[in-house]
Amino acid sequence: MIEALKQRVNDDAGLVRRGKFLTTTFLLEVGATPWLISIFEGRVVSVTRGPFVMPSSSFALRASEEEWQKFWSRRPPPGSNDLLAMVRRRVLKTEGNLQIFMANLRYFKEALAKLRAGVSA
């Protein structure tokens, strides 16, 4: 399912445009499963499933599978409807160079919400 991110982000011309100055690789952990997601100038160029031996990433977003499933549900419940809501509840851990994450916060929020049920591919 995480693989769908590539097409769903890249098909959104506005999101790609807003990410024009974003080139990075970040780590997304869904429970025990890590994913490396590479972005070049706003386009997702690869989504790779771990495990990895020595993953390099600018920052990492880590939450349990259950928490991500709530975030990716069609109508997330209060507290699961936004990355910062999950941060507030201490269920989403953010680590690494968070300047990249925060400078592009709208991009990352909107990109990860593309995995929500009901978002067309």
């Binding site: 997330p76 209060p78 936004d82 507030r88 509840r89 400078a103 916060l105």
Partner: protein, 282 residues
């Protein structure tokens, strides 16, 4: 198509605050019981456009919203370029009382959201006799920081973009897109470091958790309204405050978030109008 004007009138008021001259933007609409509106951190009085444009409110109330100094169309005081802006409980309280006096508002109803909701709790505790009723929206007694506030004001993160993005998830899921993005636009327009400076009050200086139970609602009625999707001031936190203050009335607003009056004015009015009726009947 002919132009159509809203009934809102805006003026600039010159007023000394904290011993310095200030130029403060004040909007109002309607006639009747004064209803003084306090905006959220990092935003401005435009958040109350829905109330000021609704005849059900303005037929009985003189609705007034000012932009706090450094916010919206109010200027920072001369010398600002050498200062770090930080809102404190004392300055916030003084500002509200001075502006009330300057506008000759006799016992207004005060309504405030977020930081405005927090200062409503301070006003209920320390100056209840100045108000006819106090309405705190998204009013929690305290909030520990849950992200690094420095990201709100540093040169390698665009201040407008990050302030809008920080609060975007605080808007409820059912808000009309036009009102949602109008609300976020206000955040994107804030001056550098202003949202952060307001949050100094919200997350540090203005913490009233230890004293909130001392509020006496016999001296001034207190109503608390909080949106279901607010994770900055959660419904649970509002209900906790309400439980600790005998006589206070709490409403949890389904589907709404942290900016009810701005993100979905029509849905919000369904909750506010009965409160205004109750206050009028007292």
């Amino acid at each position: 198509m002919s132009a159509k004007f809203e009934p809102i009138i805006g003026r600039y008021m010159h007023l000394d605050l904290f011993g310095r001259p200030h130029r403060i933007y004040v909007e109002e609409a309607g006639e009747g019981t004064p209803l003084l509106c306090l905006h959220t951190a990092g935003s401005d009085g435009r958040q109350y456009r829905g109330l000021m444009n609704d005849a059900r409110v303005t037929s009985r109330h003189r609705v007034i919203a000012f932009d706090m100094p450094w916010h919206g169309k109010s200027s920072p005081p001369a010398g600002w370029h050498e200062e770090e802006y930080q809102l404190t409980s004392a300055n916030y309280t003084t500002m509200i009382l001075e502006i009330m006096s300057a506008l000759e508002l006799e016992k207004p109803i005060v309504i405030g959201c977020s930081i405005g909701g927090r200062i409503c709790l301070h006003l209920a505790l320390e100056h209840p006799e100045r108000f006819r009723a106090i309405i705190g929206l998204q009013a929690g007694a305290g909030l520990d920081p849950y992200y690094d506030l420095n990201f709100l004001h540093r040169p390698d993160v665009h201040g407008g973009e990050v302030c809008g993005a920080i609060v975007s998830g605080l808007v409820g899921p059912d808000a009309p897109d036009s009102e949602r993005w109008e609300t976020l636009w206000h955040y994107m327009q804030g001056g550098p470091g202003i949202f952060k400076g307001d949050l100094y009050f919200y997350k540090i200086d203005g913490d009233i958790r230890g004293r909130v139970a001392q509020i006496d609602t016999k001296r001034c009625p207190l109503f608390l309204l909080t949106g279901e999707y607010d994770y900055s001031c959660t419904p649970e936190e509002t209900l906790d405050v309400a439980r600790s203050i005998p006589g206070s009335e709490a409403t949890i607003m389904k589907g709404l978030g942290h900016f009810p009056m701005s993100e979905d004015p029509q849905a919000f009015l369904n909750h506010l109008l009965p409160v205004l009726e109750k206050i009028a009947a007292r």
